[in-house]
C-alpha cells in the first residue's frame, strides 16, 4: 500500500518536473554585427546548457557561421536572427562572418568559449 502511494506521488512529480524544464526558455545572448566586428566579440557558454543566440546586423548583410556548433545564420538589417544550441564539448570556437562584407571581412569573427 505504501509503495502504491509513493508511486502515485512520484509520477505526477516527474511530469511536473519535465514540464517546468521545458517551459523555462533558454538563456538569451544578444550579439550585434557590423562591418567588421561582432559585439561582444567573446562570450562564454556552459557545456550542456541550452542558449539562444540572437544576432542582429546593424549595417548590411552578414553571416554568422560556426560549423562544429551548428551555427549558421544569415543576418540582414531588418530583423534579428536566432539559433538555439546546447554545446556539448568544451573548447574555443571561432564564429566567422561568412557573407563577404568588404575589405575587413576576412577578420570579422568572434569567439565562443564553452566551459
Amino acid at each position: 500500500m505504501n509503495r502504491f502511494i509513493a508511486m502515485a506521488v512520484a509520477v505526477p512529480l516527474f511530469v511536473v518536473g519535465m514540464a517546468a524544464s521545458m517551459d523555462t526558455p533558454p538563456r538569451v545572448v544578444t550579439i550585434s554585427a557590423k562591418r567588421f566586428e561582432f559585439t561582444p566579440n567573446q562570450i562564454t557558454l556552459k557545456r550542456g546548457e541550452p542558449v539562444t543566440l540572437r544576432v542582429s546586423a546593424e549595417d548590411r548583410d552578414h553571416g554568422f557561421y560556426q560549423k562544429d556548433l551548428k551555427i549558421d545564420l544569415d543576418l540582414t538589417p531588418d530583423h534579428a536572427s536566432e539559433v538555439t544550441i546546447t554545446p556539448d564539448k568544451s573548447g574555443r570556437y571561432v564564429v566567422i562572418c561568412d557573407h563577404f562584407c568588404g575589405s575587413g571581412h576576412g577578420n570579422m569573427k568572434m569567439v565562443i568559449n564553452v566551459e
Binding site: G63, V94, I96, D98, H99, F100, G102, S103, H105, N107
Partner: protein, 327 residues
C-alpha cells in the same frame, strides 16, 4: 579491367610558383594506350583536337588596387610575374587566373578603374588565352555585376587538347558557396565525358575544409566533389589562401597557387589569420619560392623542386630561369 591512369602523372606540378603561380605541365599520360587512348579518341570526335602535352600557368590573387603594410609595392609583384611568364619557353598555352584579380573599393568607380588596370597589365602577357574566375574581392559585394562586364561569365567550361576545364564560381553569391544551380549545371556539363577524361577545375576558394575559421572552405564543396567523384583524373586549382598547398581528397588532387600581393602563414601552426609581414629586402620572397617538398611532399619528387630548395629569394628565380629547368 583497365587501370585508370595515375592522376599524379597527369598533372605534374613542377617547381611551383616562382612567386608567380603554378607552372603546370599537362597530359604526358595521354600519349599512352588503354584508357588514355579512349580519351584521345573521344576528344578527336568531339573537337577535332590534337591531344598533346602542353603547359599552363596558374596565377592568383593579384589584388590590383590593394594598398597596405603587407605589400606597399602595389602591382610590382604582379608585373614581375607577367615578365617571368613571358620569359617562359615554350610559352604556356593557357593562363588560368583563380580570382582576386582586383581589390574592392569603397569609392564609386574605383573598382572599375582597378579592373581596367588589371586588364591593361594582363594585356602584356604573350599568351593570349587567359581564363578567369572571380574571387570574393572581385565579385562578392555586387554579386559579380561589375566582374561580368569586364571578364564575362563567372562559370563556364571548355576543352583544350584533351583536357576538360571547368571554371567554378564560389564567391559571387557573397557566401563561400557554389550554389545548387551551378552544381546542376556542372552535372549536365560533365555527363557527356568519359570517366577517364582529365578534368581541371579552377576556382577561387578551396573546395574542402582547409581552415573554416579563416573562411578557407566552400560550404557546398563536398557536393561539388561528389559530382566529380566518378571521374578518375580530377585536378583542382585554386587560390584565396595566398600560399602553396597540396591536398589529396578521395577523388581529386587540390593545388593552391601563391598570391602576387602578400602571403598568409601556415594554417596548421598559426592561430590568427594575419598576412606575413613585408620584407623590403626581399619584396617577392613571401610570394613564392617555397618548394613543394617543404609542404607535405606529395609531389616532391622532381629536380626543379630541389633546385628551388637550393636557391632562394629573387636570385633563385633568376638562376632557375637561366638554368632552363622550368619545364
Amino acid at each position: 579491367m583497365s587501370k585508370p591512369f595515375d592522376r599524379r602523372k597527369f598533372l605534374k606540378v613542377s617547381g611551383m610558383s616562382l612567386g608567380v603561380g603554378a607552372l603546370i605541365s599537362v597530359a604526358p599520360a595521354l600519349g599512352a594506350g588503354g584508357p588514355a587512348a579512349r580519351v584521345r579518341d573521344f576528344f578527336r570526335r568531339r573537337n577535332g583536337e590534337v591531344v598533346k602535352p602542353f603547359t599552363l600557368v596558374q596565377l592568383s590573387d593579384a589584388h590590383v588596387g590593394f594598398q597596405g603594410p603587407p605589400n606597399p609595392t602595389g602591382t610590382k609583384a604582379f608585373e614581375r610575374a607577367i615578365d617571368i611568364v613571358n620569359g617562359l619557353n615554350p610559352q604556356p598555352e593557357l593562363i588560368l587566373f583563380t580570382g582576386d584579380l582586383t581589390h574592392e573599393a569603397e569609392v564609386p568607380g574605383e573598382h572599375a578603374r582597378r579592373m581596367q588596370l588589371f586588364q591593361t597589365l594582363t594585356s602584356r602577357l604573350k599568351t593570349k588565352k587567359v581564363l578567369y574566375v572571380p574571387g570574393e574581392h572581385d565579385a562578392a559585394l555586387d554579386n559579380g555585376v561589375l566582374y561580368r562586364q569586364f571578364f564575362g561569365e563567372t562559370h563556364y567550361a571548355f576543352d583544350h587538347r584533351g583536357v576538360h576545364f571547368i571554371a567554378l564560381d564560389n564567391v559571387s553569391s557573397g557566401k563561400p558557396a557554389v550554389g545548387a544551380e551551378q552544381i546542376e549545371w556542372l552535372k549536365r556539363d560533365i555527363a557527356r565525358y568519359p570517366h577517364t577524361t582529365p578534368i581541371v577545375v579552377f576556382t577561387h576558394r578551396p573546395l574542402f575544409d582547409l581552415r573554416p575559421d579563416w573562411e578557407w572552405f566552400t560550404r557546398d564543396g563536398d557536393d561539388v566533389l561528389n559530382v566529380l567523384a566518378p571521374y578518375e583524373n580530377v585536378t583542382i586549382l585554386y587560390g584565396h589562401i595566398h600560399r602553396h598547398d597540396v591536398h589529396e581528397s578521395e577523388h581529386a588532387m587540390h593545388y593552391a597557387s601563391r598570391s602576387m600581393i602578400f602571403a598568409f602563414p601556415d594554417p596548421t601552426t598559426t592561430g590568427d589569420k594575419k598576412p606575413v609581414p613585408f620584407d623590403k629586402e626581399k619584396p617577392f620572397a613571401n610570394l613564392g619560392l617555397q618548394s613543394l617538398a617543404e609542404r607535405r611532399g606529395r609531389l616532391g619528387v622532381d629536380d626543379v623542386e630541389l633546385s628551388l630548395q637550393e636557391f632562394s629569394g629573387t636570385d633563385g628565380v633568376q638562376q632557375i630561369l637561366k638554368s632552363g629547368e622550368l619545364l
